[in-house]
Symmetry: C2
Subunit: 407 residues, 2 copies
């Protein structure tokens, strides 16, 4: 198997980007990654584009073919890879396999989504809900937030945990987001509280009380409230991958993709053995660790899929950082902060960086590349040499984990 | 690079399948391929699903995850691969790369589409037209049939060819379809004429006059008429792929995928150097021939993408069987019939087998496997040992070519 290196990264601003369409965002991230990898004058072999629903959100098809046309990568092979909100992770895996197999030497992987122009209430959430089980779940009106609410209840009860600890994850991620110039939210939740106080909307002794206020932080899926859930964002992120043997021709600090795993589980959530265990994550991260010959103890930084803040707690357990039931407490105790035992989501995560569905799995890897190159600015994790991601398609039914390290 | 073998095939009936949904069709083809490969008790590593637009045609997402759930292939990795009407071919390539890289040993590839339930006139065609160039073409209302009409005019003029020769391709493919129990149309165009005569709709001296009758065979995109264009079909097809070293454990007659290529071209059709040359096909078939160490002269049977009958003529040139301008004449002269110099579309092709978009690229390979195994019944090409496909995404802007041979 050929080894695969990341030699360039690109990342648009995430957020409410009303002046750009999906193709603009994909092009912007792609061209940045190509420039970053010093491959502007090279022939690319393949292009993989991750996006969940351009057909629904943007009334367009054939985005991979259109992209290679627009940024002049013709005649590179081009495919669109879909795996719900893990479309980005699946695109990275497709690019990895293209190089590992020897079919391609130079590959562009890009993912993005453009949704904030949609004004119909519930349109995005109900379209994402088409990922639920078509017979056992969808007809009953369940959505992904409702599963996150159930999981939160089950977790708090089973492990005697506190909702404030889940809030602590949101507080940390917003704090990290203030140090990420590409983040959707570059402000703390405390600053949202201060604004509300200034506007005379209320007065709270501390941020936890603010987060319990039904007006400031309305319930979305009991017990989860607005600040426990990621925003709807626009954005794109890109990687240039290369046969590792040739990586040093382009780049002084190539980053190896040394492990990658993907596994599925049933989406009939009530049929799972244990609601609070993500079996697919245990399997796919085990594949990634095995391929890279690493253990969770070797990891210096992680980017997890906190579409709902409860997920960061549960994922931090099933990916091997903490024992079952200890993830939320670990966040409360500061172990997952930058400078903590295992920094999680220094980027701000989905909560603060934002969650343009198809972009997320790639943005996670971009963040790890910056961390491993020592280019993460104020949010730099000191001495980071090895990182891992978790990217979620559906509600934990199709998960990808990518392990990267310095060459 | 690990070698990749096909050890099982599945293929639903193609046509107007009103009693089945998309997931039913994908499951049916998948289970047939699994049974055909004697892998029912084996753990699959990966599943790739090719489908162009289940979001638009079937209001569903996450079809790859849903499929592994329904047919109990969990925890196999599962992704949905999109490349317009070449989604099936791209899914085969994804499965090929998964095994060639060593990431997977046993892979299911399945593709399908379900469209005939859609009753809104033009809905399918206008959705397929989202594959055209978003700025240079789509706003002007061009559709894929309109490009086929232009190409036909240009070809007839440039090469002094006759429209009757294009009709000959349709006549041949309908004849082949009568021998394919899975075909959408299992009857000759002559039999359509006889029915029309019996019903008192007209009287024609020969089938070419019938095909020139505006009522019997209306113009769709001048000079192309209804019988020059494939139908809208439902259906699915599947392959089980395996590391070739292990293929003989499952199957006496494994078929090697010994070459595979994919290339893009601009979709701004008026910017192409020559309308009658498919540059992307020249490139991708050259990749496939090179990987397999074969030439066009080595090929015994081909499955080409005759969404419009002119395409079979042009593809038969650019894939290397005939000189430029001689493809339509070759069909007229019978060189592409079963028993001819190079049999093309013994299955009936897209014209008679039908064209359930995401299924087509896989159905082409299934037909070649049947031919190479000697299991093609009345339409068997004697002594077929090597075959090649051409699968089209968009109007020639993203093409995949797959070369298979007996091990």
């Amino acid at each position: 198997m050929n080894k695969v290196a990341i030699i360039g990264v690109g990342h648009t601003k995430f957020g409410r980007l009303q002046d750009k369409g999906l193709m603009d965002l994909l092009c912007e991230a792609s061209l940045e990654a190509i420039e970053n990898s010093n491959t502007s004058n090279k022939d690319f072999d393949s292009v993989y584009v991750g996006a969940m629903s351009p057909e629904i959100f943007n009334q367009t098809s054939g985005i991979a073919s259109a992209l290679v046309d627009r940024i002049s990568l013709i005649p590179a092979a081009a495919d669109h890879i879909k795996n719900g909100p893990a479309s980005g992770g699946s695109a990275v895996k497709a690019g990895f396999q293209a190089i590992a197999s020897g079919i391609s030497d130079l590959v562009l992987v890009v993912g993005g989504e453009k949704m904030t122009h949609i004004t119909t209430p519930g349109y995005v959430t109900s379209n994402v809900a088409t990922l639920t089980h078509p017979e056992a779940e969808r007809p009953h009106g369940v959505s992904l937030p409702s599963f996150a609410g159930l999981l939160t209840r089950a977790y708090l009860e089973k492990y005697d945990a506190k909702l404030d600890w889940i809030s602590d994850i949101a507080l940390k991620n917003h704090k990290n987001g203030t140090m990420n110039p590409n983040a959707h939210f570059q402000r703390t939740i405390e600053s949202f509280m201060e604004s509300a106080i200034k506007k005379g909307k209320g007065n709270w002794d501390n941020v936890y009380d603010f987060l319990k206020d039904d007006k400031s932080n309305p319930i979305i899926a009991d017990p989860l409230r607005l600040f426990h859930i990621c925003p709807i964002s626009d954005g794109a992120a890109a990687l240039v991958l290369c046969n590792a043997e040739k990586a040093k021709d382009f780049c002084d600090t190539p980053i190896n993709i040394s492990g990658i795993g993907q596994a599925t589980d049933t989406h009939i959530v009530f049929e799972r053995e244990d609601l609070t265990t993500l079996k697919a994550l245990r399997l796919c991260s085990a594949q990634a660790y095995k391929m890279a010959n690493k253990t969770p103890e070797d990891i210096n930084v992680a980017e997890l899929h906190d579409a709902f803040e409860i997920l960061e707690a549960v994922q931090s357990e099933d990916i091997g950082f903490f024992k079952k039931g200890e993830g939320a407490k670990a966040a409360h105790d500061g172990l997952t902060e930058i400078g903590g035992k295992i920094p999680i989501n220094p980027s701000g995560g989905l909560k603060a960086r934002g969650h343009p569905l198809g972009a997320t799995g790639i943005a996670q890897v971009v963040e790890l590349v910056w961390q491993l190159r020592g280019e993460a600015g104020k949010r730099q994790v000191d001495g980071a040499e090895t990182g891992i991601t978790c990217n979620f398609g559906g509600f934990g039914n199709n998960i990808i984990s990518i392990l990267v390290e310095r060459m």
